[in-house]
């Protein structure tokens, strides 16, 4: 009987502790938000609330200008299509390049796959470092060295992608059913064959969805890099936004192109994933 009351007391105190922790976290979050707001507000030139009123002025201006020039929009889409394709191109090459490197790092960075054990933490730390650098910083540095062209943007995005995708891939690897790998080992399959047949078939669907999501993120990242001179749709956006009034229709057309592209990638990704999981169910 004493055991039961002890257990009760323990459970009650545990529950109280949990509630206390939740309350502490909640208070911390609220105070961070408010102090952060105060800090930001005092550092800005205009107050946040004053800015908020004018917040929709610029977007509405763009929409109004686009509405006035609505007949010219198809021509503008056509005009900016090459820039969009250039951005897409940068993103695609960077994602594929980064994806291949990520694949290698992910396998080296997963414990218990039969990799030389000291290599695992090294691969993980390298991925951390690659992930830590924002694309923009790497691109600025490379543009300084290599000059303005899409190549620095591509390298910058690929570098970050290796770190980010590598981390996600190696997390997928962690949830692997290792029995299949052991089964192949017992057949006398070498390390490469065990990875190719024991691991890849299991992780491929998740790899694919992370890859497509990263592609989508990279389209946006490549667009931003246009602002610092890497070409593509970002360069056009910088020009039209920099002009301010008068270029609203062009800005509008560029945003629509960007949004449509993201939609398309998302649709393609869902379609591919559905195909893979569908063949799971049909058997």
């Amino acid at each position: 009987m004493a055991v039961a009351t002890d257990l009760h007391a323990d459970l009650n105190s545990m529950e109280r502790r949990r509630k206390l922790y939740s309350a502490v976290v909640l208070i911390a979050v609220i105070s961070v938000i408010f102090s952060g707001y105060g800090q930001a507000n005092s550092m800005n030139s205009g107050g946040f609330l004053d800015g908020l009123i004018k917040f929709f002025d610029y977007p509405s201006e763009i929409v109004i200008e686009a509405w006035e020039e609505k007949l010219g929009l198809p021509a503008l889409f056509w005009k900016f299509l090459p820039a969009m394709l250039e951005t897409l191109n940068i993103a695609a090459v960077a994602t594929i390049l980064g994806g291949v490197c990520a694949l290698i790092f992910a396998f080296l960075g997963t414990a218990n796959l039969g990799v030389w054990p000291p290599l695992v933490p090294i691969a993980r730390r390298v991925m951390d470092i690659m992930r830590a650098f924002p694309e923009l910083i790497i691109a600025l540095f490379l543009i300084f060295v290599l000059g303005t062209s899409p190549v620095p943007a591509m390298i910058a995005v690929a570098f970050h992608t290796t770190g980010a995708l590598g981390k996600q891939f190696s997390e997928v690897n962690d949830n692997l059913d290792r029995k299949a790998v052991e089964g192949l080992q017992a057949c006398g399959a070498n390390w490469f064959q065990r990875m190719r047949y024991g691991v890849i078939p299991q992780v491929l669907p998740n790899y694919l969805s992370y890859f497509m999501l990263r592609f989508e993120i990279n389209v946006r990242a490549s667009a931003i890099l246009g602002f610092v001179g890497a070409g593509g749709i970002g360069t056009e956006l910088r020009r039209t936004i920099g002009w301010g009034q008068g270029a609203g229709d062009e800005t509008f057309a560029l945003f629509i192109l960007l949004i449509l592209t993201i939609f398309l990638i998302d649709q393609a990704s869902s379609y591919m994933r559905a195909r893979i999981t569908e063949s799971d169910r049909s058997t």
Partner: protein
């Protein structure tokens, strides 16, 4: 195959303790003993999945424990292993799983592009037909029942063209009917291909029914080695380290003993 003083220690725990025995002619050997007696470790050491601490395993004059790299993988191919949990690749179809038994000997390019020859496909299908599951050849392995998956695993073992088969608790996760099919398949392989089959079992009657020879292990040591008929009640007590008699019919998973061991209800409830 001759095993001499084979020992495996995990830290201070000795899982397999100085075990020696030899298999001179093709036999069906059942290894029995309590959970944790070292049965699995013994089989895994023979296949080189687990490194041995001491001892040697001589096969045709070579100590297979000293093999490395390609020679070691070649040996792993020669002693096919079957697992309690089947260890198939769940998302691949059955026939591919079976063909993976041929991976040893495939070069890098062949492995990369999954190139299996006509002969290998035919071999895999023949193995599936032999085990009566050719109809499921194109299904994903994970969609099959446990008994079917274990038969796929045996088919994979057969395509390895092994010299012996090691089966680690092959029927421990199966229902009685599937268990019987799997044990009969292993026995048939032993008889028709005159191949040695070493099988870890956790039920005595399975060992009696299918094996020519029984090895009993207790706390890592070999405590019994003989014919199933020599498994007297006192020998069984020694193997399981039990104080009293073990009623085999209550632990049995065989179909025919089910009738015998139907629960007998006592009229008077035993006072607590």
């Amino acid at each position: 195959m001759q095993i001499d003083n084979l020992t495996k220690s995990f830290g201070r725990v000795t899982a397999v303790d100085n075990v020696s025995f030899s298999i001179d002619k093709p036999q069906m050997v059942g290894v029995i003993g309590r959970s944790g007696a070292g049965k699995s470790t013994l089989l895994r050491m023979i296949n080189r999945l687990t490194p041995a601490t001491e001892g040697q395993i001589l096969v045709d004059g070579t100590d297979v424990l000293t093999l490395n790299g390609a020679a070691r993988r070649r040996w792993q191919r020669d002693c096919a292993m079957i697992f309690q949990q089947f260890n198939l690749v769940p998302r691949l179809d059955v026939v591919t799983n079976v063909m993976l038994g041929r991976l040893n000997g495939h070069g890098l390019l062949k492995s990369l592009f999954s190139l299996f020859g006509q002969e290998e496909i035919e071999r895999a299908v023949a193995a599936l037909e032999r085990l009566g599951i050719a109809d499921q050849a194109l299904q994903r392995a994970e969609t099959l029942s446990g008994g079917q998956q274990q038969r796929v695993a045996i088919a994979r073992a057969l395509t390895q063209d092994p010299k012996m088969i090691l089966a680690d608790e092959p029927i421990a996760s199966l229902d009685p009917l599937s268990a019987e099919v799997v044990m009969k398949s292993l026995r048939e392989i032993h008889e028709r291909d005159t191949m040695t089959v070493v099988c870890n079992l956790h039920t005595l009657d399975t060992a009696r029914a299918y094996c020519d020879r029984v090895i009993g292990m207790l706390h890592g040591k070999l405590v019994f080695d003989g014919k199933p008929s020599e498994l007297t009640p006192s020998a069984v007590r020694d193997i399981y380290g039990a104080e009293q008699e073990i009623d085999e019919s209550t632990t049995s998973t065989a179909l025919r003993s089910a009738k015998k061991s139907a629960p007998v209800m006592t009229a008077e409830p035993v006072p607590a």
